[in-house]
Amino acid sequence: MNLTRSDDDRALIARVEGREAEALATLYDRHSARLMGLCQRILGDTGEAEEVLQEVFLWVWRSASKFDASRGSVLAWLLVGTRSRAIDRVRTRRPGARAGLRSVETVPDTASGEDIEADSASRQWESQCRSAIAELPEDQRRALELAYFDGLTHQEISERTGTPLGTVKTRVRLGLMKLRDRIQPYTQRRPTDA
């Protein structure tokens, strides 16, 4: 993990807390493409993704003081905040109303576009996550993706995949445990604690 860069994010958050719009702009430049990608993956290629992104950055502007560095990186915090807002919208939609959702299979394997700002630390994080996810058994990965990107509950996953409810819960649990065990070494960004 690039500690300098990740500390950099934290310094930006501190400046946002001090009402520096320029710091928010820098955070935006650095992470908006990844957050936008997440929004579109959840909401489809619609104007809603932009609305969510706007909400997220306004939330950061208001709530930077709530960022808790002991609980992970700024990027993880942004992703969690973005995902929950996007999922809230998905859940309030009528079934079947989703536009333009891309299936997992059609999503390219690698990030594209030179215009997208991605620093080496986040690229490293990304490739670690991708390989951890690729190593998951197919049924566990599928269950996690349905919950994470489609906002399905365990009951809905069970119906959608024709799998008993208990099995769905087990897949979700085992999948997250495997991800945790693989990814944890890279998310321990605070060697000074030891």
Partner: protein, 295 residues
């Protein structure tokens, strides 16, 4: 101790899936269980990893202008000043808390924490904080339920509610952590013992905090192997040169343990501690290999 069921509930919670009939039970359990709190935090991070499979997309340039423009127009400032007091109070409440994402930092911080825990007397304040947040959350919920026409306002309330729940959870985590530590540590006779790993688990490390007066102890350990289903770790306290069983526990999948022994009251003054591998449920006298020991 931890059943698969609680781990499943922690996983669902981390994914933001409503727990239905299990909601109250899990909320109650979570409040007192540092292991599950850490699990939910870890799982939340793990789930965020799924984002890496979404392809980054550059948003239109106009969006950045729009966002920055709405800051300057002051659209957000009233809310920010309104929430300031609460947010700073909660921040204060969290300020004394040790990180709970993983036990490793906790283990190392624990010795220093013993001294800091003289400050633990503010449990009552934290409880008040929690009640405050609860009633505010309820108030927002009630407001939101009155059928507010303006979508924007409803969204703002929703947001505020989410913010409050987040603060509530943070306050609960910090309470639970303090409760556990305080039970053992607030006694002025608390002692600390380091446990060393024995082959083949020479990388395992542990600490025992115990209070003879309180008859309680807490074991914090890391780098332990996950045992086969029929086996469990058992803690032994030596008294008069004889091992006395002091409880059984499991390591989580990352090899970590946070275990509170309630059996030490039967044991006068422990001279040393050891951990062995035993049949699940424990035995009265050690039969298996020693994995951790120290005096």
């Amino acid at each position: 101790m931890h059943s698969d069921r609680f781990e499943e509930l922690a996983a669902l919670r981390a994914l933001g899936i409503p727990l239905g009939a299990d909601e109250d039970e899990f909320a109650q359990h979570l409040e007192g269980c540092a292991t599950c709190q850490a699990l939910v935090a870890d799982f939340t991070d793990s789930a965020a990893a799924l984002s890496a499979t979404a392809t980054p997309v550059a948003p239109p340039a106009s969006l950045k202008t729009r966002i920055l423009g709405s800051l300057e127009s002051g659209a957000v400032s009233p809310r920010a000043s309104g929430g300031g007091d609460l947010s700073s109070r909660v921040k204060t409440a969290e300020a004394g808390a040790t990180p709970q994402r993983s036990f490793a930092p906790w283990v190392f911080a624990a010795a220093a924490g013993l001294l800091l825990l003289l400050l633990v007397t503010d449990d009552a304040r934290l409880r008040r904080e929690r009640e405050d947040l609860r009633s505010q959350t309820a108030a927002f919920r009630a407001q939101a339920g009155e059928g507010e026409d303006l979508r924007k306002q409803a969204a703002a309330l929703q947001q505020e509610k989410a913010n409050l729940s987040e603060k509530l959870r943070a306050a609960q985590r910090s309470l639970a952590r303090r409760d556990l530590q305080a039970r053992v540590v607030e006694s002025d006779d608390v002692q600390l013992l380091f446990l060393q790993g024995k082959a083949p688990q020479q990388r395992a490390r542990g600490r025992v905090f115990w209070s003879t007066r309180a008859g309680r102890g807490v074991v914090v350990a890391g780098n332990l192997s996950v045992l086969p289903a029929g086996k469990q770790y058992e803690l032994w306290a030596f008294s008069g040169g004889k091992p006395v069983p002091a409880g059984v526990f499991d390591a989580d999948t990352a090899g970590r343990v946070l275990f509170e022994s309630k059996d030490l009251s039967r044991i006068g003054t422990p001279e040393k501690f050891a951990v062995t591998v035993e049949p699940r449920g424990g035995v009265e006298a050690p039969t298996g290999p020693i994995v951790l020991a120290g005096s």
